[in-house]
């Protein structure tokens, strides 16, 4: 591997969080973001070709070294790491609506889900999965929510566009009342 790739590998190894490309670029004053990206690809390819137990993954705002998923059970059995808790169905529903409709207010989410979402929004906010991105112009100027980079990390997404587009889903979203036969 190139010296830059080795440097980045060391940094990624030491870090407990994904590191953004521009932060990685600061490690070497000579390196441009483009060179960093190329070096990251180099590490990824090396791991792939040589067959490593870890992989370099891009998600959210940055890059991170993760163990390969096939070792999840072994690592867990040895109690070296524990899978984080799953989000509840209600929390996932709320997140899904925020992800697709952001910026979105609480009332609108409740309209879609048909239940009160106050406490769920609070806990999603506390876990950093959503954030307040502004206020609506509507009555009472309600808070508007959007997803965060922690949301992307939670689902190992690079960006929101990696989610299926609404029209790719089996049922296209109807904005107008559907004419009923």
């Amino acid at each position: 591997m190139s010296p830059l790739a080795k440097l980045l590998e060391a940094a990624l190894f030491a870090s407990a969080r994904p590191i953004p490309v521009d932060e990685l670029a600061e490690l070497d004053p000579e390196a441009s973001p483009a060179a960093v990206r190329a070096a990251l690809e180099e590490i990824r390819e090396t791991y792939e070709v040589e067959g490593h137990g870890v992989e370099v993954v891009e998600m959210g705002d940055g890059w991170q070294i993760l163990t390969r998923s096939e070792y999840a059970e072994v690592i867990e059995r040895a109690q070296l790491a524990v899978r984080p808790h799953r989000l509840s169905g209600a929390a996932l529903e709320t997140l899904a609506i925020v992800a697709y409709r952001q910026p979105i207010g609480r009332a609108e989410i409740e309209g879609i889900r048909g239940v009160n979402v106050g406490s769920i929004l609070k806990s999603l906010h506390e876990r950093g999965l959503i954030e307040v991105v502004g206020r609506s112009e509507g009555l009472g100027r309600p808070l508007l929510y959007g997803t965060t980079s922690i949301f992307l990390e939670h689902f190992a997404l690079r960006h929101l566009e990696e989610l299926p587009r609404a029209d790719e889903l089996a049922i296209a979203l109807k904005t107008e009342p559907h004419p009923v036969a």
């Binding site: 070294i65 799953r86 529903e93 889900r113 048909g114 989610l163 109807k174």
Partner: protein, 251 residues
């Protein structure tokens, strides 16, 4: 509920139906429950037999706790209203008639799409959860309670061993120094009988101990509560002044 149980058995012979409370807790809301009913009943979402679905919806939410039920009750009311609207004679031409179920169908479709996204997100999250990052600090699980295998004799032997080692137990005396609030009240009353207004350090004994200061403080607060005196402090950290109140004199 009996009809519902019979129905479930008729359609899915795979496993015995779970208790309803358990099943209901799996619904994330009234729309989820409604979609489940529509699926179970195999009815067309665009042509929902409202009377039947409303009936079953009511049957199912009857087993819900009241704290959860508000959202479900609202949906039940909505279903009953649609049912009533469908019973009304249609006025005007057939074209102008708007199906009262239309809004509900739109919401159901929208919600179904959310469920689809949830399935997708769930797969992504599960995949992500299988990959561990460096420095991930797991929450420590509570250690499992080992079954206790201990006989009385072993326990007594252990007590005996401990007592043998601690020849002189490390005891220390606690000297009770109770506050004397009543005494302090008497002192303050005495001072106030002579002078109408005094600074608070005048009612504290010279070279006081901590408990004496505390006693006076509690006495002053108690007497202020009873209306025997008033307390004022003109500036932060300045002297506290005690003024005799005539209201308390009579009492």
């Amino acid at each position: 509920m009996d009809a519902r149980l019979a129905h479930t058995n008729g359609h899915s012979a795979d496993d015995s139906p779970a208790p309803f409370v358990v099943e209901l807790s799996e619904y994330s809301g009234p729309l989820d429950l409604l979609l489940a009913l529509i699926r179970d009943e195999k009815v067309d979402i665009y042509d929902i037999p409202i009377a039947r679905i409303a009936e079953q919806f009511l049957q199912r939410i009857r087993t819900l706790g009241l704290d959860q039920a508000a959202d479900y009750l609202e949906m039940a009311a909505r279903l009953l209203r649609i049912k009533a609207q469908l019973l009304l004679p249609r006025s005007g031409s057939e074209d102008a008639w708007e199906d009262p179920r239309a809004e509900l169908v739109r919401r159901l479709l929208e919600y179904q799409q959310v469920r689809e996204i949830v399935d997708h997100l769930e797969r992504l999250a599960d995949d992500r959860r299988r990959r561990f990052s460096r420095g991930y600090v797991p929450e420590l699980p509570a250690p499992p309670q080992a079954p206790l295998a201990l006989s009385l004799i072993e326990l007594l032997a252990a007590v005996d061993r401990v007592l043998r080692v601690t020849q002189s137990p490390d005891l220390h005396d606690v000297i009770p120094r109770p506050l004397d609030v009543d005494g302090a009240i008497a002192t303050v009353r005495g001072v106030l009988a002579l002078r109408e207004r005094v600074p608070w350090h005048d009612v504290i004994p010279s070279e006081p101990e901590r408990w004496q200061i505390l006693s006076v403080l509690l006495a002053l607060l108690e007497m202020a509560r009873r209306g025997e005196l008033s307390l004022e402090q003109l500036a932060p950290f300045s002297n506290v002044w005690i003024t005799r109140e005539s209201a308390g004199q009579a009492a």
